[in-house]
């Protein structure tokens, strides 16, 4: 039905996922997320007392520090920091530890495409590892539109450069609950279909974008399942 990609995957296949937690001894929580050859290591310190100037002291504040593989941080890294901070703020329960700061430090180990989704997944796992109270998890995936109009999930760096457009998105994970009313839905759309974060590059039609979101949702259910399973297993470092 569709063409095989350079690394042998078809359009809807993700690269193999690996999530390792509790790698760093000094950090309060840490996790490494691998998506094929893209590897991001996240460390969480906190909650530490006090917030920075300009932050709301009635809420917990989150600080994100992005460490690139090599060199200084530039505008792209600043943008990643901002997107990550706002994404993590939306999944944490900020009223539990008011007037504290939680630092999330991300170290890029290797980048071969889909860096931002990988970083979101890594920091989410690290927050769980540190025991920071969360509303729900965030799972993130990227989806690209190729020049000939087909959609591919989780593009690698080589593929990313040839894409007409690509979208990074983060969704809440699907809740497991025994309460029937707990799965809140609106106009027939369940809560986990809502988008926490979306960034897109390149021009495409609105319909293509909505298709990307649909693809992303389907994939995020799989990643969510993987994340849940990997968080349930105990690690013995």
């Amino acid at each position: 039905m569709e063409e095989v990609r350079a690394d042998g995957r078809n359009g809807q296949q993700l690269r193999p996922l690996v999530c390792t937690r509790n790698l760093l001894h000094r950090a309060h929580g840490s996790a490494q997320w691998c998506q094929g050859d893209t590897i991001v290591l996240a460390a969480v310190y906190g909650p530490k007392a006090g917030t920075k100037k300009g932050e709301n002291p009635e809420k917990a504040s989150i600080e994100v520090i992005w460490k690139p593989k090599t060199g200084q941080i530039g505008k792209t890294e600043k943008q990643y920091e901002m997107i990550l901070r706002r994404t993590l703020q939306s999944i944490c329960i900020l009223t539990i530890h008011p007037n504290t700061t939680t630092s999330v430090i991300l170290q890029v180990v290797s980048d071969s495409g889909a860096l931002l989704p990988c970083a979101i997944n890594a920091s989410c796992a690290a927050l769980v590892d540190a025991g920071i109270p969360l509303k729900h998890l965030a799972v993130s995936v990227s989806c690209g539109l190729t020049q000939n109009g087909s959609l591919i999930l989780d593009p690698s760096k080589v593929e990313e450069q040839e894409l007409q457009a690509f979208v990074c998105m983060a969704f809440p994970n699907s809740p497991v609950t025994v309460l029937p009313e707990a799965s809140s839905s609106k106009e027939g759309e369940p809560m986990e279909h809502g988008i926490i974060t979306s960034t897109s590059y390149g021009s495409m039609s609105v319909n293509d974008y909505l298709c990307c979101i649909e693809y992303g949702r389907a994939a995020s259910a799989k990643i969510s399942e993987f994340l849940r399973r990997s968080l349930e297993t105990e690690h013995n470092p």
Binding site: K78, M82, Q89, A165, Y201, S203, V206, L210
Partner: protein, 309 residues
């Protein structure tokens, strides 16, 4: 405090004075806004889906090669382009280049402090260059002078003079207006094969041939326009002010070009989740706004052309 409580509970009752409403607004900003939203109106008397008045003045900086001053409500941006001749890179010998920078000086907002760069400035700068390069609005080939030898380097600087919300929208509009206004100066080659500017009256006979006689303006195709909406519960507020942005923290920025292609949809986190229905609503609000902005931009460009003739 009693007065405020009274005001929060029941309407009226002699506490509608200037001070009490102002105090309520500052102490309980979210309930203050929600009571407005319930009546489908915003504190500045706009309906939820309408943007603030926008005005464009092109050619605001006479020393720049292209410039524009854009105001949307109180948000003011000044964009200016300076052209310089450079030698093009080996990979693309017949292309010029465009460098975009966004500045937020301390005068623009009380949250920006002198001596410390604004956190938002590099992020917006990156977003603007992504949108402008990805929308393919300008052909970099048009900035070429002599293939492999010389090309224009365009420095587009956007200064935020007053940051009152929807910064990206206004910055993008000012960038687009400045690019549309850009006049490329005449240059010629001298005897050593170097580029020199042709000064003075262009009608005067010059001994040297002008290199770029027919390339004085950029041809802009598929111009991008954007609209930021705030999501709060079931409400969608178009073109928020800084106060609204600080109270309700879920912005969605949609960029559509004149061919109705989606150039960017940017939602960085936030408390509210965007369902497909609200995304569609944002896109249709943006479509309407694109029509508005296009006519405002065309009008501004036409009126300056008439002035220049």
């Amino acid at each position: 405090m009693a007065a405020v409580k009274e005001d929060a509970g029941g309407r009226g009752g002699g506490f509608e004075g200037e001070m009490e409403v102002e105090a309520y607004r500052r102490l309980f900003p979210l309930p203050y806004y929600e009571r407005h939203l319930l009546e489908s109106v915003r504190p500045d008397a706009r309906p939820l889906s309408s943007a603030r008045d926008t005005s464009i003045a092109v050619g605001a900086v006479s020393s720049a090669d292209g410039s524009a001053l854009v105001k949307t409500g109180e948000t003011t941006m000044l964009a200016a382009i300076k052209l310089e001749v450079m030698s093009p890179s080996q990979d693309s010998p017949d292309e010029g280049s465009l460098a975009i920078d966004f500045h937020m000086p301390p005068i623009c907002s009380p949250t920006v402090r002198p001596g410390r760069p604004a956190e938002l400035a590099p992020v917006l700068s990156k977003q603007l260059s992504d949108v402008i390069s990805r929308s393919k609005m300008i052909h970099l080939k048009e900035l070429s002078l002599v293939s492999g030898k010389a090309a224009w380097m365009a420095y587009l600087d956007i200064y935020c003079l007053n940051a009152d919300g929807s910064l990206f929208d206004v910055a993008l509009l000012s960038a687009v207006a400045a690019l549309a206004h850009l006049h490329i100066p005449l240059v010629s080659l001298n005897d050593e094969g170097r580029i020199i500017a042709v000064s003075g009256d262009p009608s005067r006979k010059t001994t040297r041939e002008v290199v770029n006689k027919d390339k004085r303006k950029l041809s802009l195709n598929s111009v991008p326009f954007s609209l930021t909406c705030l999501l709060h519960k079931d409400y969608i507020l178009a073109d928020p002010t800084a106060e609204e942005e600080s109270i309700m923290d879920t912005p969605v920025t949609v960029v559509l070009d004149s061919l109705d292609c989606l150039v960017s949809l940017y939602k960085p986190g936030g408390a509210a989740l965007a369902l497909t229905s609200s995304l569609k609503e944002c896109v249709s609000l943006t479509r309407r706004r694109v029509q508005e902005l296009r006519s405002i931009l065309d009008e501004a460009l036409q009126s300056t052309e008439m002035d220049e003739d």
